[in-house]
């Protein structure tokens, strides 16, 4: 016989402004099985929690329903309170009458009635709750960091410095990411390479870090504490142990006209190459798509010139498997490319470039050794037009969001240009200037006031070539929409930051959620900014949304702290709200038919087979078995099981059915 306590929270006025909490408490007190029903202003406060605890003892409650906010908010709070009063915490349920009711409805009888209905469903559910015990699983204290940009580097070093093993997986031949391509960084204008490359070296040398470059995630099984990560090491066609990185092969490689990815196509590289001189590791890989040997079957110049005989043409992709307790996603971003901007002639006119290309022009290690020269003819441009928001905040281009970094880097670009070409005139077309970081506004003011960058508020409608000049047509909205036309020598588009190529595929491999722009989604935008919805997988940097360097590094350290926090325990305590295969006494044993379709459907590889044997060891039947350490309680198998042989503890068929019946049958 159930004795349920119902506790209605006003949540200040969050609930009571639209829901008649006293009435809910009164009606609930008459539900069958309810022993006590009260309302209170702040149930989560100390006196509120005491109310619950005292009622548990006084009324010998067998279950508690706290009608307040979302269980995401305070379920742990109240479950702990129940536990302190001696009630199994899993006999406590939250009835969400805030997010599901008061916040989304007007004040009125119907709203109060809905709150009553919500409470009734949970009362019916909690009557069927069972006492459960938490699950403990051991933690593999290794983190896999996916992505070797500044976010990955920072996170890896933080975790490794805390004494835990890190495996870093980088898709490119070198770590460094976009930051290694940058010239100087706002708002301080310090050299990007100078601050990054030492950290890259630290990664390579750190005893706790294993670095796999030119590698990709093949598959991920398991769950928090115990991921099994399979990594594909793409063939570098080279024995790294033997290679000394002397560079002889690179010098002699006959294929020299491959547009360099690192130089954003503004420079060339060979088929056997290192992306840039400061690369880590500083050992070449063969780009098989462009290598003559792989295309035509002969050449092998590199093999001939290699003094240590390190070239391995027949090398195949290999795999390593890593047992990891946590995964950290730091896969970064990309920028929108040519095809999106036909009206600006991007891709058509050589002197219309994007921001990342400008970084290479401005970089001391870049193709022009830091001189600003036009890609078309190498002339120094006298007028450059920078167009901000190229693609960002533009629903027509499918990207309604602000890319956040462009205002600042465009100001920086204009400033760098002015510093290098004193007689030059930089123009910036902008929509709004968003300079909200520390020293950012000052930086922009400096560009306008000291470096005389000409800011024009308005959009550019068209860029076309006329007599060797790029004619930029736009409007100045501050001059009542007066048309503006500038004859420029070069145009730089601050193209939108977008999710990195392959992010969707990776998200699916890892079962993390992602938004419509394919950026990975954080678990909570405010309270869980570096967590994903999948426990044990964390986020850092621009793979989540475009971020500048300070923000990226802060997020990386934040994510690292989460990993370190997780690794501070030997065992992981988890809610036991997991799936189980139901058993019954002989002669049935279990209604499981052994079709094992649940194994196919389980996203966490948590299901395997179990043999039921008689006393003599003969197998009577083989049924599914759910590994409690791996199961995440997602319920997919439950929905899939035709014979209804699987239940989720805490959400079993009977409980959910009772909830639905309670709603429908009144």
């Amino acid at each position: 016989m159930a004795r349920i306590g119902v506790f209605i929270c006003h949540c200040g006025e969050n609930i009571s402004a639209t829901v008649d909490c006293e009435k809910v408490a009164k009606v609930a007190s008459e539900f069958p099985g309810v022993a006590v029903s009260v309302d209170y202003k702040y149930m989560c406060s100390d006196p509120g929690q005491n109310l619950v605890k005292e009622a548990i003892i006084e009324h010998k409650l067998t279950g508690v329903v706290v009608s307040a906010c979302s269980p995401r908010m305070h379920e742990p709070t109240f479950r702990n309170a129940c536990a302190e009063a001696g009630l199994n915490p899993f006999l406590c349920e939250m009835a969400n009458i805030r997010e599901h009711c008061s916040w989304v409805h007007e004040k009125g009888d119907a709203t109060t009635q809905k709150a009553i209905d919500i409470v009734r469903t949970l009362v019916e559910k909690v009557k069927r709750n069972e006492a459960l015990a938490p699950i403990y699983v051991p933690i593999s204290k290794t983190a896999v960091v996916i992505g070797g940009g500044v976010a990955g580097i920072q996170a890896a070093l933080d975790i490794a410095d805390a004494g835990h093993k890190v495996v870093m997986v980088e898709r490119e031949p070198s770590i460094g990411g976009h930051m290694s391509q940058l010239s100087e960084t706002f708002p301080t204008l310090d050299c990007s390479q100078c601050i990054l490359t030492p950290r890259m070296v630290d990664v390579a040398r750190h005893p706790n870090i294993t670095l796999y470059t030119y590698a990709e995630i093949e598959s991920v099984d398991g769950s928090i504490g115990n991921f099994n990560v399979k990594i594909r090491l793409k063939s570098k066609s080279l024995d790294e142990k033997v290679c000394t990185g002397c560079g002889a092969c690179i010098q002699k490689c006959p294929v020299k006209k491959i547009p360099s990815e690192f130089e954003q196509g503004l420079g060339m590289r060979t088929a056997i190459y290192v992306p840039f001189p400061q690369a880590v590791p500083n050992k070449p890989v063969i780009d098989r798509k462009n290598c003559t040997y792989y295309i035509k079957g002969k050449c092998k110049v590199c093999e001939i010139v290699c003094p240590t005989k390190a070239i391995r043409f027949d090398q195949e992709d290999s795999f390593v498997e890593v047992q990891a307790g946590a995964l950290l996603l730091a896969t970064g971003f990309d920028v929108l490319k040519t095809s999106a901007f036909p009206e600006y002639g991007y891709g058509k006119y050589k002197d219309v470039i994007d921001g990342l290309q400008f970084e290479r022009l401005a970089s001391a290690s870049g193709p022009t050794k830091g001189e600003i020269r036009r890609p078309s003819d190498g002339q120094i441009p006298k007028k450059i037009v920078f167009i901000a928001c190229a693609g960002s905040r533009d629903p027509a281009k499918g990207r309604e969001y602000c890319s956040k970094i462009c205002c600042m880097y465009t100001a920086k670009h204009a400033m760098l240009y002015k510093h290098k070409v004193h007689e030059g005139t930089p123009y910036i077309f902008y929509m709004d200037i968003r300079a909200t970081g520390k020293m950012y506004e000052e930086f922009v003011r400096r560009a306008i006031e000291e470096d005389e960058v000409k800011y024009i508020r308005g959009r550019v409608s068209q860029v076309y070539e006329k007599n060797g000049k790029l004619i930029v047509r736009g409007v100045d909205t501050l001059l009542m929409g007066q048309p503006v036309e500038i004859e420029a020598d070069m145009v730089v588009l601050a193209t939108a930051g977008i999710a990195n190529q392959g992010s969707e595929e990776l998200a699916q491999k890892l079962h993390v959620s992602y938004d419509k722009h394919k950026f990975f989604s954080e678990a909570h935008p405010k309270l869980k900014p570096v967590e994903t919805n999948t426990a044990g997988i964390f986020l850092a940097g621009a793979c989540q949304s475009t971020k500048d360097i300070p923000e990226t590094v802060a997020a990386a350290s934040g994510a690292a702290a989460k990993v370190v926090g997780l690794f501070s325990n030997d065992m992981l305590k988890r809610d036991p709200l997991i799936a189980i295969v139901k058993k019954s006494p002989p002669p049935v044993y279990s209604s499981c038919t052994g079709c094992f379709m649940c194994i196919q459907v389980c996203p966490y590889q948590a299901i395997d087979k179990e043999e039921i044997k008689d006393r003599n060891g003969n197998i009577i039947k083989t049924i599914s078995h759910i590994n409690p350490g791996l199961c995440q309680g997602c319920g997919t198998c439950v929905a899939f099981c035709k014979s209804k042989s699987i239940d989720i503890l805490g959400y079993n068929h009977d409980q959910v059915y009772a909830e639905v019946s309670a709603l429908l049958n009144e």
Partner: protein, 267 residues
């Protein structure tokens, strides 16, 4: 027809088999399943166009599982069901012999699941003209008309469960309709409860129905219930390129995610 009698007689005489599951002539000339244990009874066996009943379901019956050397005379439906049942782990390679027929009517023994798969690949998997026509007729109906159509059909159902009993894919020893905690589906056979039962069955057969139509053929009231599972099977093929009963290693359509699936809703 004679070659089946000859072949099975040899199998029984040589001791290669002790039980043949096949077809014989029944009441009024209809074909029906038969179990032959003696060589002299092999003459009972027939195989012709009347033998269109899917008999794969017998393979996992406990009494028959216990027989060590058995062979099944499999028509095309039965073959597809064997593949699907194998993919769902209900029957196992080597537990039985499979006697099938070429398009020319020649008897062949399919020695492995791989050979069955290859044979199945040569078969037509679509609907017959009559079913196609009914399906089109129903699809052309408005929502209300369609509801009316099925309401009328389900009002006739007596819940004898002949559909379930004769469907080889309905192998759960405890069917959902028999679970009473909670009582998912009402036991009495009224229209709404009947609808719940048939819709539930169609969902459980999603990606598993090999479109043999045995459920409808078995229905004493001639309800076109096979169209429910057919519809899901057609959708599985159209949207997810999944045809049940063609591959032992295939995962169920509802259990698989491919990046090229158009499932924008889960983002």
């Amino acid at each position: 027809m004679n070659n089946i009698q000859q072949k099975t007689k040899e199998l029984l005489e040589s001791g290669a088999c002790t039980l043949i599951i096949g077809y014989e002539k029944g009441t009024g000339g209809k074909a029906r399943p038969v179990f032959v244990r003696k060589a002299e009874h092999a003459a009972k066996l027939i195989f012709d166009e009347s033998c269109d009943q899917n008999i794969a379901g017998y393979l996992y019956r406990q009494e028959i599982k216990n027989e060590s050397k058995k062979a099944i005379v499999a028509n095309n439906h039965t073959l597809k069901s064997i593949v699907e049942l194998a993919s769902e782990n209900q029957i196992h390679e080597g537990d039985f012999m499979v006697l099938a027929f070429t398009a020319e009517g020649e008897i062949i023994e399919l020695k492995s699941f791989e050979e069955i798969e290859k044979h199945v690949a040569t078969l037509y998997h679509g609907l017959n003209d009559e079913d196609k026509a009914t399906m089109q007729k129903i699809e052309a109906m408005t929502m209300e008309e369609r509801w009316g159509f099925w309401e009328n059909e389900f009002s006739k159902c007596i819940k004898c469960y002949a559909c379930r009993a004769s469907c080889p894919m309905c192998y759960c020893p405890t069917c959902t309709v028999e679970i009473n905690q909670p009582q998912w589906i009402p036991v009495p056979s009224h229209t709404l409860g009947n609808l719940e039962w048939h819709v539930m069955r169609a969902m459980h057969l999603a990606g598993r129905c090999i479109t043999c139509g045995q459920c409808a053929k078995s229905c004493p009231l001639d309800l076109p219930i096979h169209l429910l599972t057919y519809k899901v099977a057609l959708d599985s093929e159209q949207y997810f390129d999944s045809v049940a009963g063609t591959s032992v290693c295939a995962n169920n359509v509802l259990a698989t995610f491919k990046t090229e699936d158009h499932e924008n809703f889960i983002r």
